[in-house]
């Protein structure tokens, strides 16, 4: 793209993921050309065949680490990026593919592939921060594009991004939603889940399923107790914690506690 030297250089890197979080950048239809004018998007293979070498001022990393190759590659990406930001549940918590972490991955391979010896994979799907230092983790499955733009802007301005770590409940209150858990008895992970989606699920008459991962100080045992009061079996509570952010330690601990009882 542009070769003007004074513009900050951005690289977008992908590991095991669905591509949705990096697509958020292209989904910022009103801002894309503005962003492209303010920065140099130097490496973004999903969008451009002009792939410029590092170093980069900001690296946006999507996806989790699931192969030996990727475990080495993330080290190189870290070396090339002044500020490294992970985007989305895969990069920040291992993603839905971290469900393998409780199973025998060789059995998983046999279920999907006819010739298991062709497949090379690690036993665990792990977040980027388990491999290299990360400067900021942006949550969500998928991330919120407005939070991404705020994060890029703040990083370039050298200020703290305005990305709250409180729970989805706060967003529900702001929208004046009637609490679906209290009023209708629908199990909802909102109290332990970080805000950012705009309380989408409760606004669409369903319980939050935790796609933004644990809030700053989640009381997961109280959440488990509440789910039980609403008639959920422990196996159901365990599954609720074990989805897109299953390997985030607070959710992981909560699901494992449910399995033990």
């Amino acid at each position: 793209m542009s070769s003007e030297k004074h513009k900050p250089r951005i690289g977008v890197f992908k590991f095991a993921s669905c591509d949705g979080c990096q697509l958020s950048l292209l989904d910022a239809e009103d801002e894309l050309l503005g962003v492209a004018g303010a920065v140099e998007i130097s490496y973004f293979p999903e969008a451009s065949s002009a792939m410029l070498k590092g170093p980069y001022d900001i690296g946006l990393v999507e996806g989790s680490i699931t192969t030996h190759h990727d475990a080495q590659h993330i080290q190189e990406v870290r070396r090339q990026c002044k500020t490294l930001i992970t985007i989305g549940a895969c990069a920040t918590a291992g993603g839905i593919q971290a469900l393998r972490n409780w199973k025998d991955v060789d059995e998983f391979i046999r279920i999907v592939y006819a010739t298991p010896q062709f497949i090379s994979t690690l036993k665990l799907s792990t977040p980027i921060a388990e491999h290299v230092p990360v400067d900021f983790e942006l949550r969500g499955c998928p991330i919120n594009k407005h939070q991404l733009l705020e994060l890029i802007t703040a990083t370039l301005a050298g200020r703290k991004p305005n990305v709250p770590s409180y729970s989805v409940c706060i967003e529900c209150k702001r929208k004046a939603n009637v609490c679906i858990a209290v009023a209708r008895g629908i199990p909802c992970l909102g109290p332990v889940t970080q805000a950012g989606c705009g309380a989408l699920c409760p606004s669409y008459d369903r319980g939050c399923y935790g796609c933004y991962g644990p809030m700053e100080t989640p009381n997961t045992s109280s959440m488990t107790a509440q789910f039980r009061i609403l008639g959920q079996a422990d196996s159901q509570v365990a599954r609720a914690f074990r989805s897109f952010n299953a390997w985030a330690w607070q959710f992981r601990k909560a699901s494992e506690e449910c399995e033990r009882t």
């Binding site: 999903e46 279920i111 998928p142 989408l200 669409y204």
Partner: protein, 436 residues
């Protein structure tokens, strides 16, 4: 005497596709010795970890296979599970699901036509560079894409991994007024799509026709989204439940995606070209006319022209969205009651990139016993290799940079989604010259 000069040209990444992979072509003189579309996107094992989850979780979990076409996964999942449970959705929900798919097609096709594929034809690395010379075109594309996303956002809460699709219907449905608010935008989008047909038709296309087996859904009354029989131009005409009797997946060493073939025949093509060729008569008049005006008539056998067909499908999606909005009455309940039961169900829906097959077996508690998913790109994967085998032979004497560019362009004609099947394509052409 025969002496050999080996020449290897590498393009480390084929960009503007969704996913990670690489292509290897070996030329010996003018003969293509080997073609491998390698998919090294790390496997994520969705079919394995769906086991032991409740059916109600499948639409949310399978959406995460692909951030570009999550609705396709949600639609194939809900329809397969509804078949397993033996439930009928309401006509209103059926209509809304068509609208939901219109949104995804508009968003995904616009992304591909203007931002991923057009730069190949016009000689740019990406749409942002293209915008420097064609600002109005890119701005129009972004506006069109946004309108697709607006539909998805209204019905599903957000563009990527929407949260409202449910087995039996939706968690919440929009009001008539909310849909009517989309009309002005969609009328603009219809015009913009018609311009897109003319704009894409004026591009230059390599002369490359193949004798494809096209496979798509076919419905008696409408251009297909969520229902229909699986048909082909070689006489296939089956119920979706018979899919696995006629198509088989192969596991080859060079790819983390399984490759599909028609049993006893070989590779086939799914996606816009197949849908258009097999369902031209079901397109609305406005889309048929747009195609005829640029001399696009079935059967289209040049895969590079997929970009024009995608534009025609944009016209269809905008016109269909307007029709649905005109006819829409909110259902009595957003979704029908569902209860656990033993069952097996299959469904195929038309993802932007082609047919997407799901099969689920459920136990008495509604838990998934087995799941099988066949995405469009793994169905096209073998066909892409076959195309390149033919096409590379035509390009054997070309300068290697141009040949490489054209091969990438051919691959992108399929809009491969390698996250579905896998992520990025690395192109290697290995050329050995035979000196006599």
């Amino acid at each position: 005497m025969t002496g050999r000069v080996a020449k290897t040209i590498r393009v480390d990444t084929l960009a503007r596709v969704e996913g990670e992979g690489s292509l290897y072509i070996k030329l010996v003189g003018e003969r293509v010795a080997d073609v491998k579309l390698k998919i090294y996107e790390p496997p994520r094992f969705f079919e394995a970890f769906l086991r032991g989850r409740h059916f109600s979780e499948a639409p949310d979990i399978t959406a995460r296979i692909c951030g570009i076409c999550p609705i396709a996964y949600q639609m194939s999942a809900v329809h397969a599970i509804e078949r397993a449970l033996g439930i009928q959705i309401s006509p209103e929900v059926r209509l809304l699901r068509r609208l939901f798919y219109c949104g995804e097609w508009i968003e995904s096709h616009t992304l591909h036509v203007y931002m991923l594929h057009a730069p190949d034809f016009l000689g740019y690395p990406d749409a942002i560079a293209m915008a420097k010379d064609h600002r109005a075109v890119v701005e129009k594309a972004l506006r069109l894409k946004k309108i697709g996303n607006r539909i998805v956002q209204l019905l599903g809460g957000r563009e990527i991994h929407p949260i409202s699709a449910a087995v039996g219907g939706f968690y919440k449905v929009p009001s008539k007024q909310q849909l009517r608010d989309l009309v002005a935008d969609l009328e603009w989008a219809l015009e913009a799509s018609l311009e897109t047909v003319r704009w894409t038709a004026a591009l230059e296309f390599p002369n490359f026709e193949q004798d494809y087996e096209f496979v798509a859904l076919r419905h008696p009354d409408e251009y297909p989204f969520n229902e229909g029989r699986v048909v082909s131009n070689r006489g296939l005409d089956i119920d979706t439940a018979e899919y696995e009797d006629h198509f088989v997946e192969l596991h080859v060493k060079h790819s983390n995606a399984l490759q599909s073939v028609v049993r006893g025949r070989g590779s086939y093509l799914v996606g816009p070209l197949a849908r258009f060729n097999l369902n031209f008569d079901k397109l609305p008049e406005v889309a048929r006319k747009a195609a005829s005006d640029v001399n696009l008539r079935p059967p289209v056998k040049n895969v590079f022209r997929s970009i024009v067909v995608r534009a025609v499908e944009l016209v269809f999606a905008c016109a269909e969205a307007l029709r649905v909005i005109r006819e829409y009455e909110p259902p009595a309940t957003p979704r029908v009651e569902v209860s656990n039961r033993i069952g097996m169900g299959q469904a195929i829906t038309e993802a932007p990139r082609g047919i997407l097959y799901h099969r689920y077996a459920l136990d008495q508690n509604g838990m998934i016993i087995t799941a099988k998913i066949v995405p469009p790109t793994s169905q096209n994967q073998k066909r892409i290799e076959d195309d390149l085998r033919e096409y590379a032979a035509q390009l054997a004497t070309w300068p290697i940079e141009e040949a490489t560019w054209r091969c990438e362009q051919a691959i992108r004609s399929y809009d491969p989604c390698i996250s579905c099947a896998t992520h990025f394509l690395k192109l290697v052409i290995d050329r050995e010259e035979v000196k006599v």
